[in-house]
Symmetry: C2
Subunit: 159 residues, 2 copies
């Protein structure tokens, strides 16, 4: 199987990974959240090649994660902005950031998140909305739907 078959999987993690699970795509999305909107800025702030940036922006637009918006008619210019679907990736980026802050950084975080509502510098946490408690790997149990379970058992036995 190649990466291009991932979007057709049952697993929504696999599908999500197929849309945004690559290095440069995640960095483009990071930049979007830091209010970068123009081609040249993405280029310099991520350090990627213009060819690949162009491909990735097209892919992200086709997937509905970003949209191009004109900001000048003459010369024709436009900028890229996140759609709601794209903005909803905030949680993913923040999860990566918390993990990076914890495990990959000697110093303090280079990027603080301020909660506008309460004014605090915050480290967002995953919590269970039912009981309000923080939730981590060992507090959770995965339960597979029947079709997903069967699909996985078939894969295990099959050649």
């Amino acid at each position: 199987m190649s990466r291009s078959d991932l979007p057709s999987q049952t697993c929504t993690i696999a599908r999500a990974v197929a849309q945004v699970g690559d290095e440069w795509t995640l960095l483009i999305v990071r930049e979007m959240f830091l209010r970068t909107r123009r081609f040249d800025d993405f280029l310099r702030l991520t350090g990627m090649s213009s060819h690949l940036l162009s491909l990735r922006l097209k892919k992200l637009e086709a997937q509905g994660l970003i949209r191009r918006e004109p900001y000048s008619e003459r010369p024709p210019r436009h900028e890229y902005r996140l759609t709601e679907k794209g903005r909803d990736l905030w949680t993913v980026i923040i999860a990566l950031k918390q993990w990076g802050d914890r495990w990959l950084s000697a110093e303090d975080t280079p990027l603080q998140i301020v909660h506008k509502t309460c004014g605090q510098v915050t480290k967002p946490q995953m919590t269970c909305p039912d009981c309000g408690e923080p939730i981590e790997a060992h507090d959770a149990e995965a339960r597979l739907s029947q079709p997903f379970e069967l699909e996985r058992q078939a894969a295990r036995r099959a050649p």
Copy 2:
């Protein structure tokens, strides 16, 4: 700049992305959370090639995300398990899952998360630990540290 330069960036998101921001790595980590531990099972359940799986497992081990543990001496066999650093990626995987469930799936989620503490099927949320409220992109403001800010401004102006 190539992907191999990402680990040396100041940004902890870039560093995190350098460690786990690729398709197959994320799927391997997903499998780990579904209690897959053996080479052959990763192979069949992710659909990746054995060559790449071997490379990725080595990389993950070198990064301290997983460790090899013998489970049989004769024949010599071992399995792969997440370290604490690896388990801490749970939030990232769950963030991807929630996003995938919301935007990429017509049906119900193929994978439910049960909160062992309270017994509920739960959709974990990012919340602000200070005020306890859910937090999303529009509730948050990014604040860059001085060195990070300067680094970015230099990139913007420089060729």
